[in-house]
């Protein structure tokens, strides 16, 4: 086969090209020809096709994501916003924190272990590329029905992959989510989050500038893995019989990544790097075009100098390969020798593959012949944008009308029924103890983990002298979002925000992973539009800007999409981690206060799911000002030593929160149903804007006065006491029995 050089392409304008097989539309191919003024070479076509795929170009979602910037609340904390590898937030004392959540859903369905492992590897490189030392990971997960045979295949592999990679990298896993719902059958969601810490002056950006500066590719050799993965994996739907295509799977090498981290931090410390980009989806195509596009000047790359694992790879394949554990740095010529020396110290292969040029073109050569000559912006940033049609689904009204009222769904009434319902919820897979999963993750490594599973948020200390720390929580309730995607996305934010505040940290910023079905379906597109609008509006009110995130579309089997699942991560700061608030009730005699208002709200609730397998009605109402007030009280309560334990209320309501706080602290509670509520609503309603706290008697007055002054309803509902949950006049539930129901559930399903 002759090499398809630029010269050859110019001379053979009529040559047939496989643009359709590469996922391009006719008008997109025409536009490429228009940009170049000729037909693209094979290598150019490969680059455009991967970079213009949904996964890399966000072509369906861009028009909606814009709101995150347009509506972003003014925030002094934001140092780097959307558009870079990850957003960066100022947390004080000269520290900056970067965090981001990303999906690796499709690869994890095909090959659970490697798919999930490389999901962790990818997000960690994003954080590293900002100049930060990665300090923790989290893993929000969604699986199909817990008793479905495919869940048995997928779940253990995904968990082992996340643990296998993260543990070997030496990053503590400080939290995540595990949710089962048959809507995720065939489309499990593997979202991965990483947090990194640096000093302000260490922030690095993905840009190439300064003619003559060198482009260094370092890390693993390039092999034939994941070629086409980006366009095929992330943009094709799967039919019911399984993956429609089986593209090469990428295998991760966490040891290589650990070396890459240490080596990269060392070259940062010696100030050897001008610009840097990790290699993820679309590999070198993405890294070179993004670096060149974001900087000034052009770039020239000698592709044949790329170290290969497989000598038979074609230039197109090298450009598209998604081999893991690689980075690309821009380095001044006089610093190259030292850069290479540090790489050698860490046994990392590093190669100068090109340089920044005067011009404005990205030029790639293969054994001296030019095979790519493009304006880099046209590849990396000016891809197609779609205004996909969307419309409120015809079934939405009927779904919302199907409310779980007392007339339609039988509610427990007697003490015996209520008690059984508490047990049933605590022992249902979504509410049950997750330690079969979380015990496969190292939560101690690095020695700075202050809170991790099963606390409300993960928290790490970032300065050992001053005890400054950050907290992160992720949440997303697909059932709520299905009932009302606008409110559902806001509820996801509110819950994560509440979880961060419950541990005593002040929420600062947001990252999000939007997991949806096919954008070509107007119903799904409406869900997406509503969810982004809701999230952007809520971020504005709560004062927490979106700093970055990820979109995963085509999560559907045939024409059945998953529930719309916006997963929202909130990052907060705490001045002194010694003041963190845990969830466990540990002190006998402390008073239990319920904060917020409780209404009869069961749409999308855990109770409706567990007791009746029902999804209908409206999700809980949301009052964002109330959320903000609640957070202020929780933070002040922690700072001033007024609360010893706090737990936010979400799935399963007060009953589930109390079960978790009692089991964690090893102490029971004596409760009374407050006036004006019935026991069922008191126990199981999922009204938003609530938390339960335990208050030392000596602090009661101060605490209730604070709530009174600020106008937050605080109801004394009981006292920490004994070794059972005792709802006076209704039932007594020994903790031992509760623990029995709550633990071992996941193990029994999968073991």
């Amino acid at each position: 086969m002759t090499l398809d050089t630029v010269k050859h392409a110019t001379g053979t304008p009529e040559a047939e090209q496989p643009w359709a097989a590469l996922g391009l539309k006719a008008d997109e191919y025409a536009r490429i020809r228009e940009i170049l003024g000729r037909r693209p070479t094979g290598a150019e076509l490969a680059m455009y096709s991967v970079m213009w795929s949904e996964h890399c170009s966000y072509k369906s979602s861009k028009v909606h994501l814009k709101q995150f910037g347009e509506k972003a609340p003014a925030s002094d904390a934001m140092l780097v916003g959307i558009g870079e590898n990850a957003g960066v937030v100022d947390v004080g004392q000269g520290y900056a924190v970067t965090f981001k959540i990303e999906s690796h859903n499709h690869p994890s369905y095909i090959e659970p272990y490697q798919g999930a492992a490389t999901g962790i590897g990818g997000i960690v490189r994003d954080i590293l590329a900002m100049g930060a030392r990665p300090v923790a990971v989290m893993d929000p997960l969604r699986f199909g029905a817990p008793d479905h045979p495919d869940t048995r295949r997928v779940l253990p592999g995904i968990v082992a992959g996340i643990g296998g990679y993260g543990n070997c990298l030496g990053l503590p896993n400080i939290g995540g989510e595990v949710v089962f719902d048959s809507c995720y059958q065939g489309n499990p969601l593997v979202n991965a989050l990483c947090v990194g810490v640096m000093k302000h002056e260490d922030i690095h950006l993905a840009q190439a500038s300064g003619a003559g500066n060198k482009v260094i590719l370092y890390g693993a050799r390039t092999g034939g893995d994941g070629i086409g993965g980006v366009s095929v994996l992330a943009s094709e739907t799967f039919d019911a019989t399984g993956p429609a295509k089986r593209p090469a799977v990428q295998v991760g090498d966490p040891f290589q990544e650990k070396l890459l981290i240490e080596c990269t931090l060392e070259v940062f410390a010696e100030k050897l790097v001008l610009g840097i980009q990790d290699l993820g989806g679309a590999g070198l195509s993405c890294a070179t075009s993004e670096l060149a596009s974001a900087g000034s000047g052009g770039m020239r790359v000698e592709l044949d100098s790329v170290p290969l694992r497989d000598a038979t790879l074609s230039p197109e394949e090298i450009l598209m390969s998604e081999s893991q554990e690689r980075m690309c740095a821009i380095v001044e010529p006089e610093k190259v020798a030292r850069f290479l020396e540090i790489c050698e110290k860490w046994d990392v292969i590093a190669t100068v593959i090109g340089e920044v040029t005067e011009g404005e073109r990205l030029e790639i050569f293969w054994h001296g012949e030019q095979i790519v000559d493009v304006p880099p912006r046209s590849v990396a940033h000016d891809g197609p944008t779609y205004q996909r049609p969307f419309a409120r689904p015809s079934w939405q009204d009927a779904l919302q009308a199907d409310a779980p009222t007392a007339e339609r769904l039988k509610r427990p009434a007697s003490g015996e029924e209520l008690r059984a319902t508490v047990l049933q919820l605590a022992g249902s897979p979504n509410q049950a103890d997750k330690s079969w999963i979380t015990s496969q993750y190292d939560r101690y490594v690095l020695g700075n983990t202050v809170l991790s599973t099963p606390e409300d948020s993960g928290m790490v200390r970032i300065d050992e002298e001053t005890n400054l720390g950050v907290a992160v929580a992720t949440d997303g309730n697909g059932r709520y979002a299905k009932l009302d995607p606008y409110t559902g996305a806001q509820l996801a934010l509110a819950e994560a925000y509440r979880n961060v505040a419950a541990t005593g940290a002040k929420p600062l910023a947001v990252s999000d992973c939007l997991n949806f079905g096919s954008p070509e379906d107007p119903d799904v597109m409406w869900q997406f539009a509503e969810a982004t609008r809701g999230l952007a509006d809520a971020c504005q009110i709560l004062g927490t800007p979106v700093t970055g995130g990820n979109v995963s579309l085509y999560n559907q089997t045939g024409d059945v999409a998953i529930h719309p699942t916006p997963v929202v991560a909130v990052l907060g700061v705490i001045d002194d981690v010694n003041r963190r608030t845990p969830i466990g009730f540990a002190e006998e005699g402390q008073l239990v206060y319920l904060l917020g208002d409780t209404a009869d709200e069961f749409g999308g609730s855990a109770w409706a799911q567990v007791a009746h397998d029902h999804l209908g009605g409206l999700p809980p109402k949301l009052d964002l000002e109330r959320e903000r007030l609640l957070a202020e009280v929780l933070i002040a309560g922690s700072r001033d030593g007024m609360v010893d334990a706090a737990h936010d209320l979400s799935d399963g309501g007060l009953a589930q929160a109390l079960a978790e706080s009692c089991l964690r602290g090893g102490k029971g509670v004596r409760l009374v149903v407050p006036d004006g509520l019935n026991a069922f609503t008191f126990l199981f309603s999922e009204s938003a804007g609530r938390a339960v706290v335990s208050v030392p008697r000596s602090e009661e007055l101060r605490f209730t006065e604070m709530c009174g002054v600020r106008g937050l309803p605080a109801t004394r509902v009981g006292v920490v006491d004994g070794d059972s949950i005792d709802l006076q006049g209704h039932f007594t539930l020994p903790l031992a029995e509760l623990r029995e129901a709550h633990t071992g559930v996941i193990e029994a399903l999968l073991g």
């Binding site: 090959e111 799977v249 990428q250 893991q324």
Partner: protein, 82 residues
Amino acid sequence: MARVVVDVMLKPEILDPQGQAVQRALPRLGFTGIADVRQGKRFELELEGPVDEAALARIREAAETFLANTVIEDFTVRVEQP
């Protein structure tokens, strides 16, 4: 009793970090002249009955569906001569 061996190796195009680690270490330990190392798994199955075509077919099926992950691995089945 008869023994059937199932060898499972990563497909050639798939990265083999284990084999690479060994390959990188060998020269440092003074073992040179080894161009490539791949590491895989070996299963030794002891059959209760005779190793006839039917038994081998079943083992091949077990290898295909369970012992190997054919997304990334190849396997071979063979009878070990005692």
